[in-house]
Symmetry: C2
Subunit: 157 residues, 2 copies
Amino acid sequence: MTREKNDGPQGRPEFQIFKDYIRKKGLRYTPEREIILREIVNTGDHFDVDELYLRLRNKGERLSKASIYRTIPLLIDCGLIQEVYYEDGHMHYEFIYGHEHHCHLRCLECRRIDEFVEPSLKKIEDRLARKFGYRVVGHKLEVYGYCPECRKKLNLR
Amino acid sequence: MTREKNDGPQGRPEFQIFKDYIRKKGLRYTPEREIILREIVNTGDHFDVDELYLRLRNKGERLSKASIYRTIPLLIDCGLIQEVYYEDGHMHYEFIYGHEHHCHLRCLECRRIDEFVEPSLKKIEDRLARKFGYRVVGHKLEVYGYCPECRKKLNLR
DNA sequence: ATCATTGCAAAAGCTTTGCATAAGA
DNA sequence: TCTTATGCAAAGCTTTTGCAATGAT
């Protein structure tokens, strides 16, 4: 019986990736680290430290914010999450493993965020790599403006 | 005799734009505000608060960091500068007035930043506007990877 | 038995703010 | 004269860090 992507929380590849990363670095796979990753995997979206901390607290988990701050660089380093943007005085992160690479469209008024896939960026990357001699590994595109609702509300074109 | 773009510092349109903005808002055009804008215009590139503050101090200008922090939102609001990215624990800004809209290509190793113009993003904006019903006003694209020098140094493809 | 990790509280660093004084308009 | 702006220092926040205790391997 082969393990599938949704074969129970611990069967998800994210946990194996994290474990392998931790072991390879000679670190330790602790309950706290697993709890943090599980919460990120389960809610599978954007998050920030404070919000993640409160969510875990409300579920009765007892762990410190310091542990979250110390775990985040590890999760970034093994490619499970990434920084998305800095706003309201703190960083916002996003769970990316297994998600098709996407970009963000954000409303400047209500802060709603839509996601979109833009395949042509691959070509742009290639062109830049050639033109500047870079080894390109990724990009972040954020398009901003006003969402349909706020456009109406603000009487914009 | 018509005023040209480089007809002395005070003849540059940036100052007029800032003055008009200040007046329109019922604020006051102070020496401190002008000194800050002049430094940004003259160095015409990326900057952060601390660096700008030290540069002005070294030139013998006596003004406080608080004034810089209070002036920045005004300069953003009238479109003379913009936030570029948050790194090393603080925000980085960029002087944009009169600069062709460009995107950034950054080296993850040495932090070098190259700029490039990518006209196809206009089409992407239009497509998104139609598809999501947004009124799109701008975008930020950052492509990252390793510059030619660091590629060699790190032995990357 | 080792040595990394945790929680806590303190420290650090950037940014904001309260207040008395200065100074545009 | 009336208000806004400035400088300073304190406060506010997020994030980092030192340390003793804990726990993974």
